[in-house]
Amino acid sequence: MVDLRTTVAGISFRNPLWLASGIWGESGNSLKGAWDAGAGGVVTKSIGSEPRLGYPNPTIETYDKWGMLNAMGLPNPGIAEYPQEIEVARSAGATVIGSVFGADADEFAALAGRMAATGVVAIELNLSCPHAKGLGSEIGQDPDQVRDVVAAVKRAVRIPVIAKITPNHYDVPMLAEAAENAGADAISAINTVRAMAVDVRLRRPVLAHGSGGLSGPAIKPVGLACVWQIYERVKIPIIGIGGIISADDVIEYLLAGARAVQVGTAVAFEGIGIFHRLREDLSTRLAALGVATTGELVGAGHRGAGAA
């Protein structure tokens, strides 16, 4: 039997398939649902200091089965009300990673502290939302600010800190390095790719916000390039994100250097049952490839041609 357990930053996960932030992550019941469906870890919706309604609809646009565009605008119930949601998931046994976003290092640190107090196993810093002004990617595209945020959060919490990196940059690994230098325990990459849709009949953007972020299979090649390049520049573990919908996608990310992965848009395309299917398919596929643990594959693509 293939052993799917994986350890990231000292925390052990029953499998490397995590629920990505923003999907099934606003309510505790849904986090529990994703856990019950087989996810190895569940990342919460990115939580801020105050409740945020997000942008008006339309907030999403889909492209067949290969992509999705969204500009939710970081709706979230706010950190004050969120502990009760996490409690629902934690008391069901879920391994919960708490995602937070803020406008500066102080806000990130304060939020991370309150999030850590809920009993999450790690903090994920959303440094990469492409469509929320002044939040996320404006900070995440500047290595100095990344360093400041990560350092402040590291001072505020004892649990591992994961920096989630944007792909919308000419030098993505530099951002990961900045996070590593400031003490980040892991990197997750990528968030969505800045994108847009225009309605031809109505002559206006489809999304109420105008631009948004592209996710789904279309961005898998983008996420792989980021993970591959980050792996060549940092030593801390990487969590691969972007377009994963099959066991082979997961293996591609492992080979590129990811130790775990997150699944987002595929949940919309297939339902939460995707975690069960991916887990089964991954076991079968790894067994067929003669691999006993996912760890064997992490970064193996960099070591030149392995046996087929």
Binding site: S30, P58, T59, E61, L202, A208
Partner: protein, 257 residues
């Protein structure tokens, strides 16, 4: 993946409710909903009140967007995606329909389908006042009997539609109850049907954004109304502390209904 279509017809149903008809090819089952984009405004979930090739939604003014929707003229472009969600099971033959306010919108096409395939429908329709009774004529078409209740007594029973449905449940045999309306109303319908072992199916409403079972906006206990619903069998709902009590606002916070 939205289809822009023109409103082919606009029917004023009540002072606060209009039906917009439009061509939209994808096939739909009674109970399903669409996301309707009112360009420049918002995109809202709306049950299909007509599920044939010429589809329709029946919109009640609730807030800013639905109020604006009331003045959308025929010919105006709207964006449609869907249909989404599950639908009413049409196998039961003797059906009690309990519609509160605009809730009748989603029940009508289901009842019509049931009647067409040999079922018998008894309808109990409620509204604040006579003028707000939705689809009264349409209900006469698909029902054996139509009974009415108004809060102000301007027509039919003076009081709640649940008084009427409770009486009907005690007088007649039903294979199923289909209901849509305020959750307190649906709670009462379930309470009345339970001792008689008549299964109840409720069409639920929650905030919606993606309608794809992803964003969690429509979370209702362990369910997503957009993909697990909107039609829920009563036992699923009865177990939920939030049913009839709280919903989530756009931020995901629990707020009173």
């Amino acid at each position: 993946m939205r289809t822009i279509t023109e409103v082919s017809e606009r029917i004023v149903e009540t002072p606060s409710t209009v039906t917009l008809r439009f061509r939209y090819a994808p096939s739909a089952l009674p109970g399903q909903f669409v996301m309707i984009w009112l360009p420049g405004d918002d995109e809202l979930p709306m049950s299909l009140s007509y599920t044939g090739e010429s589809k329709g939604v029946t919109i009640k003014a609730m807030g800013a967007t639905t109020r604006a929707a009331l003045s959308i003229p025929a010919g105006a472009p709207v964006g449609i995606r869907g249909p989404y969600g599950n639908h009413f099971d049409l196998t039961p033959k003797r059906i009690l329909l309990v519609g509160g306010g605009s809730g009748t919108a989603v029940l009508a096409p289901a009842a019509e389908a049931a009647a067409r395939s040999g079922g018998s429908v008894v309808s109990a329709l409620g509204a604040t006042t006579a003028a707000e009774l939705l689809f009264l004529d349409r209900a006469r078409g698909f029902s054996e009997t139509v009974e009415v209740a108004t809060d102000d007594g301007s027509r039919g029973h003076h009081g709640f539609v649940t008084d009427v449905s409770q009486r009907l449940l005690s007088e007649r045999e039903f294979d199923a109850v289909w209901t849509c309306g305020p959750e307190v109303m649906m709670r009462k319908v379930i309470a009345a049907a339970e001792p008689r072992h008549v299964p109840v199916f409720c069409s639920m409403e929650r905030q919606m954004k993606c309608a794809l079972g992803m964003c969690d906006a429509c979370a209702l206990g362990p369910y997503h109304v957009c993909t697990d619903g909107p039609v829920f069998p009563a036992p699923q709902l009865a177990a939920l502390p939030e049913f009839g009590r709280t919903k989530r606002d756009s931020s995901g916070r629990k707020v009173p209904l």
